[in-house]
Amino acid sequence: MGNNSFLLYRKQNTWLEQWDPRMKITVSLIFAASLLLNHNLLLKTAQIVLLIILWWIAKLSWRALVFTLLSLTIFFISTMIYQSILITNPGDSMIHLGFLTYSLQGAINGILMCEQIAGIVLLLSLLVRTTSPIILAEGLEMILKPFKKLRIPVHEAVMMFTIALRFLPILIEEIDKIRKAQMARGGGFHRKGISSRFRGIFPMLMPLFVLSILRAKELAVAMESRCYQGDEGRTPIRLYRLHPRDYSILAFSVFNLLLIFIV
């Protein structure tokens, strides 16, 4: 572990990164909707291919792609098994795959279902891997602005999200730090064996919790003493402007959605 390597986003300034975050989120939603509504095998496959092309354009590592998809294998397999048992219309031609038996419709349904899961997962991955979490949060806040009128604490929610993102790596490091601090005093029980690892957890958990509560207190003080008072009178850190590029992407994704109803 160590460092921030587990934050998925890494600055690369690719084409995808330059999209406006608001548009990116909107487009992702539209695209997700079209993935869900689409029941055409060809079209859905095309959408997946499109996502993979975008992955390539964003210069993301292929290993991450494979890893993401592999993490879904259980779902793929269970879905396929499920489809084989469930949908058997008498009279359909049957396909035999190993010990599984499919009707044509069942097989297509299974594949569609798998593609749907894979598509949504890829889409989300793309979004978080090409957008800095802070920018994502700011984009979200701007999109949700109308809800502020309904007295829904949009700003606060986004702030919580941002803080959580910022502190996650720090707390993971903190676990490491507590381990080091206990090591600095000669405590060495985090090294070998499952049972000693389990015993090591309680002495880690309590300090971690106490430290975090303390951290929260200090951070609140620091924020307030730097003039933080909710979203009143705040200027956004960055200027967001929608470019023709962003509109054309929007147009494309709407077109993509409409295509489903046409075909």
């Binding site: 460092n3 390597s5 730090k177 507590i178 080091k180 601090a181 206990q182 090591m183 600095a184 005093r185 000669g186 405590g187 060495g188 090294r191 309590m206 300090p207 106490v210 430290l211 303390l214």
Partner: protein
């Protein structure tokens, strides 16, 4: 305990398959150094020059990117004996990094747990450790270590390590935030442990006069290498070295050198203000020309 570094380099960037990683210079660059048992070693250098990184290598918190670290001729990293690092006591740059228990007593006594000492002895040891860092036992033992002033936290952190009686003691800027009496007491303690138990002590400091007063050897770190290594008095009166860091020569050294030039003193070390004053008044009185 003797420590040896062979050709040690360290960089925070992990090796990647792509090329970018080697553009940044390593934080530490091919260090070759031996620290003998019983030394009082001070380390100085600019902020961000890699002092803390160096210390973490010695404690095994970080493993060198290349080269190896030997503790008493054994490399704990490659020979898979990380427990050897347990003989090293380490005090972090920020005391907050060191404290984790709910009371000061528990925090200081943490390291004694594994030794399974009887309660009275444990208490006695904690009491003694708190004494040397000038914390009142009754007043502080039940307080939370996080609800203390900056200097008090620092003292608890030091006590928690000193109580273990390590063979090598590493302190990362231990005097930052301490007031004069605790600084004095800390160094008294360090000298005492150094002399009586032959403890090796390594500490980082930005206070040059502190180094002159207490170190037996000084390592000056710059651009990943130790550009000076030697007795603090000679090192810190070397104009070239001072120039390269932008440091000012400690006043004690300037005055002592001047007194030497005038033949007032023959010691070639450093003089405290009182000693200097004594020497000056002695010589002036001798010459019987003291004008009133």
């Amino acid at each position: 305990m003797q420590i040896q570094l062979n050709n040690v380099s360290f960089t925070y960037e992990k090796k990647k398959r792509k090329t970018t990683s080697f553009l940044a210079p390593p934080v530490l660059n091919q260090l070759h150094i031996t620290i003998k048992s019983g030394e009082m070693l001070a380390i100085a250098g600019k902020s961000g020059s890699g002092k803390s990184t160096f210390l973490q290598l010695l404690k095994g918190f970080l493993a060198p990117t290349t080269g190896n670290v030997l503790l008493d001729d054994i490399d704990p990293n490659s020979s898979r004996k990380p427990e050897l690092f347990d003989q090293v006591g380490y005090i972090f740059q920020y005391p907050e990094h060191q404290l984790f228990s709910t009371t000061v007593f528990d925090d200081i006594a943490f390291g004694l747990q594994s030794a399974k000492l009887p309660k009275e002895i444990k208490e006695q040891k904690v009491r003694k450790a708190m004494e040397v860092v000038q914390l009142d036992y009754e007043e502080f033992k039940d307080r939370s270590p996080f609800e203390l002033s900056g200097g008090e936290k620092r003292r608890v952190a030091i006590a928690g390590v000193v109580v273990l009686e390590p063979k090598l003691l590493i302190l990362d800027e231990p005097t930052a935030g301490l007031d004069l009496p605790s600084r004095t007491a800390l160094f008294q303690l360090l000298h005492q442990m150094n002399e009586e138990q032959g403890l090796t002590i390594i500490w980082v400091s930005h206070q040059l006069d502190e180094i002159v007063n207490h170190a037996s050897r000084l390592l000056a770190l710059k651009n990943g290498i130790f550009i000076a290594d030697g007795s603090p008095v000679t090192t810190l009166s070397d104009p070239e070295l001072l120039e390269s860091f932008g440091w000012e020569e400690p006043s004690a050294l300037v005055v002592s050198r001047m007194l030497r030039q005038f033949g007032i003193t023959s010691s070639n070390g450093k003089l405290s203000p009182e000693e200097a004053a004594d020497a000056i008044s002695l010589i002036l009185n001798q010459q019987q020309i003291l004008v009133k």
